[in-house]
Amino acid sequence: MLRLMLALVAMLPTQFAAKAAPAFSLNEIAPGIYAHRGETSLMTRENFGDIANLGAIVGEDAVAVIDTGGSLIEGRAFLAALREKTQKPIRYVINTHAHPDHTFGNGAFVETGATFVGHKNLPRALAARGPHYLSAFRAQMGDALDGVTIVPPTVTVDETLTLDLGHREIVLQAWRTAHSECDLTILDPKSGVLFSGDLLFLQHVPVVDGSLLGFLEVADRLAAIRATQVVAGHGPIPAPWPKALDDERAYLMRLTADLRAAIKKGEGVAAAAKTAGTEEREKWRLFDDYNARNATAGFAELEWEGP
């Protein structure tokens, strides 16, 4: 760990050097399966964007990395920590979707020669949103954003794709628009570990940036995946599968029911966004950062239901 911390300090802009560098934890949660727990927080200069869970799957021949973190700094810390666990080549970097906390560290892995893999809609989503993310997060993260580049995948997944890491075949599955329009899950059948990306939130209130109804449907379909443990996009790792889905489904159902009732009553979107889903507030962290946003987008979606 000391080596890692020193390496990290050396990479930081000088104004950070005096601060204690963050310790980057990477734990083996099953044989050959590593996971990193991000903070349940917004991306800031202080946390280097380290808010999402990340992972790595090690086969006999090669490694697949799952998401890269919220900054180049975090991506490099992840790579350094991974190199302490294994020297096998990193053959794939898989992004579970386009959001900055999962993709801003991609640049750290370019020099490993890994192939970047994502949902068929991921290139389009990164192209449409990348420039906005880079400018919007500069205000939140300041120089912790330095060096971040948008690295799109060169291999994309239409439905499912199996990747062989050497006596370890992992299964990537692309989903319809749910949390976002480019959600991908990764299953390691050997260990029974599922990496859900942001199709599963634990403790961190779910974020709907694609389709509320799609998210509900996919959450139901996810439950059929034959896994025993899950690494969620956010929250404690690992968690029992499929029980870990329960809270998220309850939240999405409550929000949907409240929005439908508000639409039926003729409420406007601004009023509905203030109240829908708020019974769930005490169950979640960052509720006030995201619930009104989920409600706003959900209202605009559900308004099209019915005649």
Partner: protein
């Protein structure tokens, strides 16, 4: 009306590069007054027009904005401007002469911290403005289309809704039009070319043959543009809508007006 701001696509890229500086950049409003309002003097709202905007954009792609008019007979044109957006002129509503429109609510994209102006042109030709400051949304919210395949698959579908009106002399309704209303900013991953903008640029709403309003707008309107409004009924049996987009798409809808409630 001067459409120059709508056509300033070349400025989009410059905007993105400098967006991080938006909070300290010079106020764009004086330049917008020149571009959109030909440098005409703009007086305080003085109750003639009132803008209801959220303090913070929750979802950058869907930010509700409501313009209210204390005396609809005075209002000829009401323009909504998102100062810091790549195309600031979001929508300009020309009100029908006897339409009695008391308010118009729509949804816009807000890219970054921005003032939002609602400018009324009154029947004497003078301009009055109300303004609100809107904080940008946080997190991974982007002013982008949620599901591009879905948006294109459903393009042009319309929905009409009626509501109980608080004012017994008025009716209240909403028009919704499926459309990506996309900026065209994104690069096509195959051709590496920037996709052209594709957005609703005009919506006309009538009761019978009498215009309620005509909207001219651009990419600052949210995908699936929606307009909720009140109007003074003239006894017509139907609400009729004709919308156009910048690629020549024409979308029409007509619905019976329900019993007054």
């Amino acid at each position: 009306m001067n459409k120059a701001p709508l056509c300033a696509a070349g400025a989009l890229f410059a905007f993105i590069a400098t967006a991080a500086l938006a909070q300290t950049a010079p106020d764009p409003w004086p330049g917008l007054v020149t571009d959109i309002f030909q440098s005409r003097p703009i007086a305080a709202a003085d109750g003639v027009i009132d803008l209801d905007a959220p303090a913070r954009a929750e979802d950058a792609a869907i930010v509700p904005m409501t313009m209210r008019f204390s005396d609809p007979t005075q209002i000829k044109l009401a323009t909504l401007v998102i100062d810091q957006n790549p195309m600031p002129m979001a929508a300009a509503f020309t009100l029908g002469e006897k339409s009695g429109v008391g308010f118009i609510e729509t949804r816009v994209r807000v890219n970054s911290y921005s003032n939002v102006h609602a400018v009324a042109e009154t029947s004497d030709g003078r301009l009055r403005a109300d303004a609100k400051f809107v904080k940008a949304s946080g997190g991974c919210s982007a002013p982008a289309v949620k599901d591009q395949d879905e948006a294109i698959a459903n393009i042009g579908k319309m929905k009409y809704r009626e509501f109980k009106s608080a004012d017994p002399a008025k009716r209240e309704a909403q028009i919704m039009i499926r459309h990506p209303n996309a900026s065209g900013m994104q690069m096509d991953p195959v051709s590496r070319a920037y996709l052209p903008a594709h957005f609703i640029d005009q919506v006309e709403v009538f009761q019978g043959d009498a215009p309620i309003f005509k909207m001219e707008g651009g990419i600052s309107l949210s995908e699936d543009p929606a307009f909720r409004f009140s109007y003074a009924p003239n006894g017509a049996k139907t609400i009729r809508v004709e919308a156009h987009d910048n690629k020549g798409g024409v979308y029409k809808g007509e619905w019976p007006i329900g019993e007054a409630s």
